[in-house]
């Protein structure tokens, strides 16, 4: 197993692990934004840059996707690495000057403001990390949203900037967004969930038992599509919220324990 020396701490990692993995193991903090275990490394944000010591020369690399193949020496707290990361953060703060999540990371990195002019309101907050589009494409297989434009006009958008046909309003994009740019809006009057800013809307499924809102109808349908066994039981459980599902499972367990075996047993 190759040894990674990070700021004088030595750790061994599996061949092919990333510098970020090694840093986690060594207990060294490297800021990340576009890194998420659910998707392939994006390496778009560059906030995780560290300096790789190659003997005669040094090189800045992104820790989140740089694979460790042999023994390497990496500097996280060296001047060059710190300067590079702070520079990136200053650019990002220009895009999302009021973003609390970003400001928290910036603070931890020792950056408290940006010298750059801030972007227009229309482009505000999104740091273009690509996690939302990646999760929609790689995990959901939908690619309902994607990038549009380029350069300063680059933005995450649904095709033609209209409510996307392919969106099932699952909320995965909202869950992965590192800076909270994507938001879920609940429309009480119509029982709909809206994924903002994409204007996607879908009806919410309500728990049959308690009426709690569970997931969007298309998401439930999509999830059931992936269930190969057409168990009536699964269909029925899908109509409940997690809480009621647990209660029902407990009930059936209790029934088993009291000597009435039931096929309804679930996890």
């Amino acid at each position: 197993m190759p040894t990674v020396t990070i700021d004088d701490i030595q750790v061994e990692v599996e061949q092919g692990a990333t510098i970020l993995d090694a840093a986690n193991k060594a207990g060294v903090w490297i800021p990340t934004l576009c890194h998420h275990p659910a998707v392939t490394p994006q390496a778009t944000c560059r906030i995780c840059m560290v300096e790789l010591d190659r003997g005669e020369w040094k090189q800045l690399v992104t820790a989140c996707n740089y694979p460790v193949r042999r023994d390497i020496t990496v500097s996280v707290s060296g001047d060059n690495a710190v300067k590079a990361r702070r520079g990136v953060m200053e650019f990002m703060l220009a895009r999302a000057p009021d973003n609390e999540q970003l400001k928290a990371i910036a603070g931890r990195m020792g950056v408290d403001s940006t010298p750059w002019p801030t972007v227009t309101v229309a482009q505000r907050d999104c740091i273009l990390c690509g996690l939302c589009t990646a999760v929609c494409d790689e995990v959901l297989g939908l690619a309902a949203i994607g990038f549009s434009g380029r350069g300063v006009d680059r933005a995450v958008a649904a095709p033609f900037r209209q409510a996307p046909d392919d969106c099932i309003a699952c909320g995965a994009c909202q869950a992965v967004c590192p800076v909270g740019t994507i938001q879920l809006r609940l429309h009480e009057d119509t029982d709909e969930i809206e994924i903002s800013p994409f204007k996607a809307r879908a009806k919410l499924r309500k728990c049959e038992q308690c009426g709690a809102r569970v997931v969007s109808e298309p998401t439930a349908a999509e999830a059931l599509k992936n269930v190969n066994v057409d168990w009536e039981k699964i269909r029925n459980l899908a109509k409940l919220c997690p809480k009621c599902r647990r209660i029902r499972a407990a009930e059936s367990l209790a029934a088993t324990a009291s000597g009435t075996p039931t096929k309804e047993m679930t996890r």
């Binding site: 949203i145 990038f147 549009s148 095709p159 033609f160």
Partner: protein, 168 residues
């Protein structure tokens, strides 16, 4: 309606056939579509995506990435403004802003009245003439904001030479 649908589908099939349905040839296919339609109509793009089994978002990303693709029909006139480094330094940025605000047009878009399509481009290779604005193929050099606006304000609202327009 039905007839239009058939022709549209036929056009898409024809374009796909030209490239043996190779998804790697997406850009040439989109170029062909634009040549046939004058722009990239949303329905046609959706159909093309469906037939190639690609997400519409991918086609939209490509269409918005390259400035030569247009998603709206062309205007009567074509206005190109160079915003390359030299032109920019000599004030093309301000000209662009003036055009956008007075004619309510976005870069790459067409004015609401269809008078002209406006396309800022990165260097037309005529830096000595900076800033350069090209109207229907005619180069206007060293334009000021006022001069540029005057040229655009006096653009004829009727089609003069449709043949010449159809190209490029």
């Amino acid at each position: 309606m039905t007839e239009k649908t058939t022709t549209r589908d036929e056009l898409i099939e024809d374009i796909i056939d030209r490239y043996d349905g190779e998804t790697g040839m997406l850009i040439p296919m989109m170029q062909d579509l634009q040549t046939e339609c004058g722009y990239l109509p949303a329905d046609e793009l959706r159909r093309l995506a469906e037939r190639l089994d690609l997400p519409v978002s991918r086609l939209y990303a490509v269409a918005t990435f390259y400035s030569s693709f247009r998603l709206a029909p062309k205007g009567l006139h074509e206005v190109t403004l160079c915003i390359g480094t030299v032109c920019y330094l000599k004030g093309a940025g301000r000209i662009s802003e003036a055009i956008c605000s007075e004619f309510q047009v976005e870069p790459g878009g067409t004015t609401p009245d269809g008078l002209f399509s406006y396309l800022p481009v990165n260097c037309v290779g005529a830096c000595a003439l900076a800033p350069v604005m090209i109207v229907d193929g005619e180069y206007h050099d060293g334009v000021s904001v006022d001069a540029a606006m005057e040229i655009l304000r006096t653009l004829p609202a009727e089609e003069i030479d449709s043949e010449q327009e159809a190209q490029t």
